[in-house]
Subunit: 327 residues, 4 copies
């Protein structure tokens, strides 16, 4: 049962970092999972979770691979250049995960529903990319000049309610037809903590996996399903409604153990262990909660800014030589 | 203190019907508030709350006036004509509240943020109106033909984060300049119950009041602030994040009183009265919750359909003679 | 040379009807091309051009096949139901061209650029379709009820400047992956005559051919390139800038032959034959004209209305039994 | 008659620079109109037309005042920072025309139709402004920090077909209600020459005048109609359809005088003077041409880029101290 509850819990976050942190909270050590952290700039923190073994993957509820998380508190605050410093850090992480040969070709996939604001991140990122495949195909790569010499194409597959087709099927069809070397898939995610909303970018070489994303993908978009490496870039723009309740419950439990008036309740509740608490809450959630999501009121501005930052990160990673960027 | 808690609670719903129901739950009788109900079609239920006295207004936390609520379970389901039967019922309610003379002029105000899906209802309703003021002004009303002979204008004022101006100021300025006889203001609302999301239309002659709407208006848009009657049409498209927590808490309390294992907790918690419970929950809510809202994942389709139904209801109410519509 | 000029001329219209009319003007008879006409309603005129032979195809500059044109003057005027009578006529034409077995599956392709108003027809048509493939795949066709029992999917491939990929490649990839029986491709066209703008629907079983559409497709989207039948629905929403000049030139020539003052010019100009005139004008056009298009100022309203009419025509053709529609 | 023809001609351009050039072509000297030119950067050319007298205004068909034109060939080409160098030059021009006191308040008006791509410049510029009025009103100007300390508000009034109200009425109403010191109105313009499309910014202190803009404003938006100074920023994104014809006609006339075969026609046509030619062409234009506009096919990308450049120019002009920008 314990495993069941754990898995039930784990689907609530798309962020490997949050899945990892949960174990820390519970003082559980996980073999096969490595965590590194680095403060690359006063405001930019990078964490790297590597799931190295199948056991680690099972414990984390996520496939083996690299999960890099870039956190910056001021990510959605206004500045002049859509946080170019974040774009540059993102481009460095991407370059580590992208093919190391010089002239690989890339298909960027903007997942999500353009018509639902917090889910429109992927489509919006694609709007601002430097697309070159058609130009290189027609005129050769020397026409474009110093920058933009790698072939980049893109697709916004839409969501299944609009197309009747799984995103994975669309991407696989286009991949077979156009034969890119690598896919970069951009998606809006659900986070466990409201503190991470619109402030965190997760980059992983494990692709997109079932149950992830605001739209809850049903099929994997990864090396196994598509046949080429899939790097996924995700930003949490929503929190699961259940998360909100659980967070408040935890606050309640803390308060209960303190408040004079409530001590009787608190003390008996505290005798339940964490598994029992989660089980309890899950049972109590009304069924509608599963089709709801929670998002900040200024999500339009946040998604606009974030999509520029990510686009520019991809543009730099794909189009510019190391020496051209002054880091 | 009791009154304070009540008010705190009441702001959580924009629907007079829900405010009224709450008192029923508590078995509290409210003087000066009258409720009528009518099943006008197999799937359409109309409730009318009339707040008749200042005492009733205080108890309800809403101004004196008429609040008509149209409920239809299938409102966002697909049909051929965007639920013309609902539009016709809406038009009948509007006609009762609109001026009774033949040639009044109307300004329709689409409140909310077009860029945030659940808040885009008002702007989208305005997109599909039959706008006639400029034609009548230039050519006279006989040019337009049988229908569309009343002068209708519209404005989408935007939200304060975009304009720096209160919607009320914009509407008041345009009202002074163009002198309509009546305003119809359309807005997305927050409901208390997830069951009401996208299934309920509230029509009121009390206008828009502070704290209401997805965007939380700060200034009233009513006869007092604008100088002409303001009829408000609202549809709940979001639920306050706090509401979700409170609903789950209530489920928790019910379960607690039953579950063998939890009876000790439940019984002591039940000794708190409702006011104490709410106070407790409000304290426990994390501050971020106040800037979040909860919305269904298919909110784009729902808002698209609802905006057509409302537009058409307004078009019928303003533009067609009773005998022209075959009800 | 004569053939060359003819071809040069013919690319200026995407409408077979206009290509055919041109020959009539010149009193040229074309073998292998048949024209039928029918007035199906007071305001709806249907013409059918059948190109039966390769010779006919050469003369017309269009592939062999059926080209049905539905003309209705009031197509973009406001009415209650987005011209349901036109949708029904469109559905009848589609049913003649679609597979005749009961349960064929369809992929609808919305061609064009959503961000450029007159080119957004295809994407907007797709927005309002009844999409069923994913539901039928998951629950079987009996879940959906009386209507919507055929499997329909859709894709908006975007334009090459955005994706770097030919629409044809995207559609071919998705077709191989999802195996529909037939494609319906919707596209905004360029007309020769401003009188046809937003008033004409062309339906053809020859698919989309190079050089057609507002965006000037470079690759065919037809049975030959995709491997399944492609029915194309097109509406002219722009006029080629060159067309405007040529129309005005023709007016000039007419006037020249009449105006006392200009008779000397007119008479000598008239001695040129049509080929010479076109050659002359083509040479004189400034190069920029080739990247320009001409569109009416109210194109936003027109495209919005037309997209509903076409969506509903497709929905009726694919989802409803003959006896269910009361024609 | 000569004057009439001239005026008829002059409405075809919204650019004072083009009106001025026309006289140069005709070798007509205009008293009361002064022209200065400056190359401020390798790619940026600034021209300043000052209409000093009523006679000059009559001759030019434009009101007395300053018209500054910034031309940059690469304005819509991709670069990293949306052509910040152009934004800075624009901000310098604005600062010369804006009030010279420190704390004036500004209302920015985004004119045009958001739903028609080439007319969406004004609304899109407003989307990216730094709006501060509501923050300063609530918290005072010291909260915002070093930048953004001037009060800026904005409005997108929409077009008359959508609202039934003249933009001027909406702006006047809001101006009376919120009392800004100055208005900046941004609008898409019609140019005479296709060479100027999307490459030219006109800044004038004479406001918006009847007949100007893609949407053809019917009422002035200037100091006289609104009561406060109105600075207008315009970029030509369309060419009048008539312009296209006239340009081609001119090419025709040139060719006629050369081509052996056509010399007979050309020589007699050349005997007409310019007035007679224009009169002739105007008569020949089909009536539909007046409701059409001509626009490049990549207008979506162009308007997106240009709107950023203009937004940033306004942001710099209003929000930053001279010493903060490193020019």
């Amino acid at each position: 049962m314990m495993k069941e509850v754990r898995n039930m819990y784990q689907v609530r976050t798309d962020l490997a970092l949050e899945a990892r942190e949960k174990f820390e909270e519970d003082n559980v050590e996980i073999k096969g999972v490595r965590l590194d952290e680095e403060q690359v700039a006063p405001d930019i923190h990078i964490s790297s979770v590597v799931i190295e073994t199948e056991n680690g993957a099972k414990a984390m509820g996520k496939p083996k691979g690299n999960y890099v998380t870039l956190e910056a508190k001021n990510m959605t605050e206004e500045d002049e250049g859509y946080h170019r410093e974040i774009s540059i850090q993102l481009s460095k992480i991407l370059k580590r995960l992208l093919p190391q040969n010089k002239d690989f070709t890339t298909l960027v996939v903007g997942l999500g529903n353009r018509a639902v604001t917090p889910d429109s991140l992927g489509p919006r990122v694609v709007d601002n990319l430097c697309i070159t495949r058609h130009i290189i195909k027609e005129f050769g790569k020397y026409v474009i000049g110093d920058s933009c010499h790698k072939s980049v194409s893109s697709i916004v597959p839409g969501v299944m309610a609009q197309t009747g087709i799984e995103s994975m099927e669309i991407v696989r069809g286009i991949t077979k037809e156009t034969a890119p070397d690598v896919i970069i898939a951009v998606d809006a995610l659900a986070a466990r903590s409201t503190k991470r909303l619109n402030r965190t970018i997760q980059i992983t070489d494990t692709g997109i996996n079932p149950g992830s994303g605001v739209g809850n993908h049903r099929h994997a978009l990864n090396n196994e399903s598509i046949g080429i490496p899939v790097i996924a870039i995700g930003i949490p723009t929503v929190v699961d409604a259940a998360t909100i309740v659980i967070d408040t419950m935890n606050n309640l439990l803390d308060a209960m153990s303190q408040a004079e008036q409530l001590q009787r309740i608190g003390s008996s509740y505290k005798q339940l262990d964490m598994m029992e608490k989660y089980e309890l809450v899950r049972e109590l959630l009304t069924p509608q909660l599963n089709t709801l999501f929670v998002t900040p009121k200024d999500v339009d501005e946040a998604v606009k800014r974030l999509s520029f930052t990510v686009s520019e990160g991809i543009n730099i990673a794909l189009q510019k030589e190391e020496e051209q960027i002054h880091l």
